[in-house]
Symmetry: C2
């Protein structure tokens, strides 16, 4: 028997992960239009923008404008991503909903490349972020473990190392007088298989039985939803995903590699298994069509083309 | 704990399922070139063509030519599909490797539409095929259960009905003095979820504990590999799939819906979980690139774009 959850919480990451990687410019008003449509589907958390260096990521230069233009819907959290305190302060100034996110990596080489930090610096930064979160009154502290399943620079990651990385960070967080409330295991570069998800989630669950575990999965090699199913079977009920499967993988070997797992395909799979998502699948599919139109090229989502089963069921009944 | 198999057997269906549905004509020599390349990857069974009415399926009008032109590799089975005795005789005449396949459907409406047979006629046809297989000395009798997970015309299919359909056909087969050796549960129109796979495979396994169960899965709504993983967990070790994810679904609500699960993505997932496929993944990816070139449009395979992990592992080691 499995521990399938009764319901799942999905963070929609398409506007941030997807638009960030698009080669062409996306109009600010199109970003806003997409985010507003997503908020009407029942999604409760939408990662809208990154507050990062606009010289390095020009597609996110309008982050504050996007944040200012969104007509907010009550009950929906509009989230930004940051990689340093300056980004966090910009997100706060832009009126984003702040989540207490901390970043760590199982791979020193990836970490150096992605954020210029060695392990000592990574821990030091976590402490700085915790202190700033405390000043800002941010509730909850979730540790994102990047490359939790493998790394293009270091190869396979031992499960033991994932547990060690979390232990080290949790110790630092507690020394700052704060309490970690969850982890997010990220398959940053698409190395996970269902067996790897079982192994890593199992090890983290064994070490911290009551810790909230979220999965951030990429579909780089086609196993994304199988990996999600492996997580669901272990009772994982928090996922990041991307409408239309928008996005890609800047670290993959070949251009055109798939990005995050696709939100509406994940919603379809969950609902078909009796797991409540709180999301209107038809409305979400309309969002996927909208974003395909906005980016001007096909996105990899499947159920947007296969169609839902609701109409067929109604006809057959 | 799960019953993951040590190895899997994969039937490559791309040349038949894929080319059959392509809107434009595919040159006979391109079909042959693709089939010959597939045979070099370690695949042991390749479904090459359909022996069907060329007026109804013009893309398969050259089936006998394809069969005649293939330079056969020892140890590889080159298979054709047929929907009636005339097709079977054409396949035999073309020198295809014959497999004892019988077709049944859980859905009378689908069956009538797909092959013009009601249930009585379906059973009668199974008897005719069994007799012809006996005359031809064909070994093995696998019953394909179409729409085993749901049907666009009848909606959800009760698990009980799948078992009943198999029972009825097996009785008829035995009355002809033959013994069924397996079933193939086909998600013909992409209704399956991992939970449905567990339910249906579980029910068939419970009724016939020693029967070989194959899964024929489509990725119409993105859950294809998750469904395959659900099957693997229950010890299923036989799958049909399609190189590059070639193919589509003529019955889906929207044009452009995905076809069979993608062979190289399935191979990647299995190998990453320690399940032997006997297939050279890099060679298979080259086949996927070849067929993308042949059909002239992107195919949905993921690992062909994401890249395998072998090179990265070697570099990291």
């Amino acid at each position: 028997m499995s521990d399938l959850p009764k319901s799942v919480k999905i963070l929609e990451a398409g506007p941030r992960e997807g638009f960030q990687i698009e080669p062409g410019p996306i109009a600010t008003q199109d970003k806003v239009r997409f985010i507003e449509a997503l908020a009407e589907t029942g999604l409760k958390e939408i990662e809208c923008v990154s507050f990062v260096n606009p010289k390095k990521v020009p597609s996110m230069a309008d982050a504050a404008d996007v944040a200012a233009m969104i007509r907010r819907k009550a009950g929906v959290k509009y989230i930004g991503l940051w990689l340093n305190l300056r980004g966090l302060d910009r997100a706060a100034a832009a009126g984003m909903d702040l989540k207490g996110r901390l970043a760590s990596s199982t791979s020193p080489t990836f970490s150096l490349k992605n954020s210029g930090a060695d392990l000592e610096r990574e821990i030091e930064r976590q402490r700085e972020w915790v202190r700033r979160y405390q000043e800002l009154g941010v509730e909850g502290l979730r540790l994102s473990v990047m490359t939790a399943f493998g790394c293009n620079m270091e190869g396979d990651i031992e499960t033991r190392r994932v547990v060690e990385v979390i232990e080290r960070s949790f110790a630092a967080i507690r020394e700052e007088g704060a309490e970690p409330t969850g982890v997010s295991l990220a398959d940053t570069v698409g190395w996970a298989s269902p067996a790897a998800v079982e192994r890593v989630v199992g090890a983290v669950r064994e070490r911290w039985p009551d810790l909230s575990i979220k999965l951030h999965l990429h579909d780089t090699r086609g196993t994304g939803l199988a990996n999600a199913y492996a997580g669901l079977r272990l009772g994982v009920y928090e996922f990041d995903s991307s409408c239309g499967g928008l996005g890609g993988c800047p670290f993959a070997g070949h251009k055109g590699a798939a990005g995050n797992i696709c939100t509406e395909d994940l919603v379809f799979m969950c609902e078909e298994m009796g797991i409540d998502t709180g999301i209107d699948l038809d409305a979400l599919i309309e969002c996927a069509r909208m974003v395909e139109d906005i980016v001007g090229h096909p996105v990899p989502g499947k159920v947007m083309r296969g169609g839902t089963l609701a109409a067929t069921r109604a006809r057959a009944a």
